[in-house]
Symmetry: C2
DNA sequence: TCCACCGCACTGAAAATTCAGTCAAGCCCC
DNA sequence: GGGGCTTGACTGAATTTTCAGTGCGGTGGA
């Protein structure tokens, strides 16, 4: 909302969620942001630059919403602090299930995130950013796992966190691509948490 | 190899694996297939038709390589029949790990499959085909799970199969997008099979 | 003779990118 | 305290590039 640059980045996120990264047209972006196309070039030099900044923006903002841990605030897009309440297992479920909700915001973020992932397959430039962001997420989940299951070892928690986050991504894209209903995806994810924490 | 049409479809798969669906240029496809652009239009009318046939081709050929069960042959691309040997658990691992190998063929198929998945998010036309193919794969995995764990219930096997296949897709795209090494992905997948089959 | 095919020049439209210039704020100097 | 000057944000209208798709003359083989 604040300055134009940010407005453009927000608009770009919306357009990407609607059309995909490769479906983003500079003209459509300009219209969505309510500015002239030329302004976009003024700020971001070219399409590639615009995309690069937008993807940074997306992965910062997302950082998979995991803006929960101890350290209070985080950034402008700040998520609600994870309703930190019940036991760590519930927290864990909450964090993961947050990616599987039918609200405009989550849909937009998940879609954009999926696009980022898919595009990185063909564009090595994006990989570093992506790996960093993924790593943060995995790390946060591993921490919660450690709290939920203090008996387990750190490497085991790390592996479980990687599995749970990768599964979440897999389920998310299945949901968004219409192979899976939201409810079902959520059920499966809860089942996976149970399985990983060996409650049966 | 046989007829030109198939040659074009194979070439299209390679180009998609290299550039992505939206990155596929008719000219590049023609060059890759070693034919004239006109021939492509001759056979497939237009770009959309070419893509449609190619995506069918990909999901048939893949059908996630699960050309294993009883029924002998399958199609031209026929995979080796899953080294059917050891116990069902090993078979299961084999089937899933087959998606995580650094050979041109697997890379190509996995990449194309990921593209199909990612594109379907924005193009509802693709969803049915994709859901069908996904369902087949899940079903096959569920069957193996049932054999590996005869004590479990059918719904439990179905859920586990969905989780394992979704995880495989998640790991595959992380691998292809450079967030995960192949070895690590394979290790995680094996861990997941263990976890689902509750060997600890 | 017909089919499968090549080669290639060409069209038309959709996009990306550039350009020339406006407008408003700030600043410096008299 | 107001006139020149600079600078950054911004626009509308080109210009250029990139592609999909077409048309057509030609070729070789069954």
């Amino acid at each position: 909302m604040s300055d134009r640059r940010t407005g453009i980045l927000e608009a770009a996120t919306r357009v990407i969620a609607r059309r995909g990264i490769r479906g983003l047209r500079m003209g459509e972006l300009a219209a969505e942001a309510g500015v002239s196309t030329a302004l976009i070039y003024y700020h971001f030099t070219d399409r590639a630059g615009t995309l690069r900044r937008t993807l940074e923006f997306i992965s910062d903002r997302a950082d998979h919403y995991t803006a929960d841990h101890c350290t209070a605030d985080h950034n402008s897009a700040g998520r609600q602090p994870a309703t930190r309440a019940a036991d760590p297992r519930t927290d864990l479920e909450q964090i993961l299930l947050r990616e599987l909700q039918d609200t405009a915001e989550v849909r937009e973020n998940s879609t954009a995130w999926g696009e980022l992932r898919a595009t990185a397959v063909f564009e090595p430039d994006l990989r570093e950013e992506l790996a960093r962001s993924t790593h943060t997420w995995v790390h946060d989940v591993a921490e919660l796992l450690a709290r939920a299951d203090p008996a387990g070892t750190a490497p085991a928690h790390a592996a479980a966190a990687e599995r749970l986050t990768a599964l979440t991504e897999g389920l998310s894209v299945r949901w968004l691509s219409g192979s899976l209903s939201l409810d079902h995806a959520r059920r499966l994810l809860r089942g996976a948490v149970d399985t990983e924490l060996a409650r049966r």
